[in-house]
């Protein structure tokens, strides 16, 4: 199994090169790849931190947007892009929140996402649930703010900053 995905990872890095994706975009692509495991916390953290840089911010959102609008058979792209977006809404720059609110219809319309694979297993359900969760979060300003604040507090406590 790991060989198969190592080969895929190699193909992805070739694509990153031939399509001229930047290093940041390559990070987003690998965090939202078709590998059957979720994006790692450290990868998401790195990407979320990069959204504070305006140049990287554009690159990241562009790639997430691409992944969100991918085909049904790439439902993992869509699901992981939602996971990454959710993470960046909590941890990333306020620009992510503004961007996501402005383009909420991209996520909202994924609430009816459908994909049934060859084994007639409904793979769309995780996308539908995640899309619903994020839509509700985006519509609830207070909750979004308090979740962002909690994250910062937690991080400050863990790194020993703040609360001095």
């Amino acid at each position: 199994m790991s060989k198969k995905y190592m080969a895929k990872d190699a193909v992805r890095s070739i694509k990153n090169y031939t399509k001229g994706y930047s290093e940041t975009q390559a990070k987003v692509r690998s965090a939202t790849s078709n590998n059957p495991w979720g994006p790692s916390g450290s990868a998401m953290y790195e990407i979320a931190q990069a959204t504070y840089n305006p140049h990287h911010f554009i690159e990241i959102m562009e790639m997430i947007d691409k992944r969100l609008n991918d085909h049904g058979k790439n439902w993992r792209h869509v699901f992981k892009a939602l996971t990454l977006l959710h993470y960046c809404l909590n941890e990333g720059s306020p620009d992510v929140v503004a961007y996501a609110k402005e383009n909420i219809y991209i996520v909202k319309t994924l609430q009816e996402f459908q994909y049934i694979d060859e084994q007639s297993k409904d793979q769309g359900i995780v996308v539908r649930q995640k899309a619903k969760e994020i839509t509700n979060l985006l519509l609830d300003e207070d909750r979004l703010n308090s979740e962002r604040r909690q994250r910062t507090d937690m991080r400050n406590r863990m790194t020993g900053r703040g609360d001095l």
């Binding site: 947007d65 609008n69 085909h71 909202k108 009816e112 996402f113 459908q114 409904d122 539908r128």
Partner: protein, 280 residues
């Protein structure tokens, strides 16, 4: 003009294809990915003109399944699209009439879609008429508190708004019962069930509005007896909706797509002010 990366020329080209595929002759639900592209298009460019043009150049009117799928697609686009879509749709009633006229009672396939098409057109026209008179509501009746409060500021006007909203709710109820009556044993009914999906969502949005507007009105008016007709109508609609959702909850295809709201057995009190039920 959208902040996301887009390509207008490609979008226009894709849109024509999406409309074609959403209204294909296969007796299935209009594929959500194509409907979604249409909805996203209206938000990206704040227009729906190309969609109407696209629908008119497609040869859908000779086939009842295609026409029915076009109506489902239109309903979903009106609900989920940019507000401009709802305004544009109000100028398309003659196209809707054409849809209703073009298909005979049984259609060519003899599958009874003619009746459903005419009922769908009637429903869409009354929905559009409601939105024309009450532009403060959005296409999908997403719940917004200030609308319900604003509408009961003037009790007379509030009474009318609620009454007309109840008329629309009754129409949904009639239409959904017709759809169930047209189910065929020989078919998986996916195409017919697909029309129930936006109806479940729409009826629930309306229900939530009605609950809150009626509560606000009860708080405002001292002579509660005057509201009795609205109250009993609300109760009747509650039971009708309860039955509708129960029947929907037995349709596996539908429940795999959306969660059907669970209403309490008895209608909620309109006098105490507890919060309206949240969207499931």
């Amino acid at each position: 003009f959208p902040s996301r990366p887009v390509d207008r020329e490609k979008a226009e080209h894709d849109l024509a294809l999406n409309i074609k595929k959403a209204t294909s002759p296969d007796e299935t639900a209009p594929k959500q990915k194509h409907v979604r592209k249409c909805i996203v298009y209206t938000w990206d460019y704040h227009t729906s003109e190309s969609i109407w043009t696209g629908l008119k150049v497609q040869p859908i009117l000779s086939d009842e399944v295609q026409t029915f799928k076009a109506l489902i697609t239109v309903h979903k686009i009106i609900r989920g699209g940019h507000p401009v879509t709802l305004k544009d749709a109000q100028n398309q009633t003659s196209w809707l009439d054409t849809c209703a006229r073009s298909i005979s009672e049984d259609g060519i396939r003899g599958s009874g879609y003619g009746v459903l098409i005419r009922a769908y057109v009637e429903f869409l026209k009354s929905k559009l008429a409601y939105h024309r008179i009450h532009p403060e509501f959005n296409g999908n009746f997403d719940y917004e508190d200030y609308v319900s409060l604003k509408n009961v500021d003037d009790p007379n006007e509030g009474y009318e708004t609620i009454n007309e909203l109840m008329d629309l709710q009754d129409r949904i109820d009639q239409f959904q019962r017709l759809i169930f009556a047209q189910f065929r044993k020989s078919s998986n009914n996916e195409c017919r069930i697909a029309a129930l999906v936006p109806l479940v969502e729409e009826s629930y949005g309306i229900y939530r509005f009605l609950t809150n507007m009626l509560r606000a009105l009860h708080r405002r008016i001292e002579f509660i007896d005057a509201l009795a007709p609205l109250g009993s109508r609300f109760n009747a609609q509650h039971y009708a909706l309860l039955k509708f959702y129960f029947e929907c909850s037995n349709l596996r295809y539908l429940t795999s797509l959306i969660s059907v709201p669970k209403l309490p057995q008895d209608p909620p009190s309109l006098i105490d002010g507890s919060a309206p039920p949240a969207i499931p």
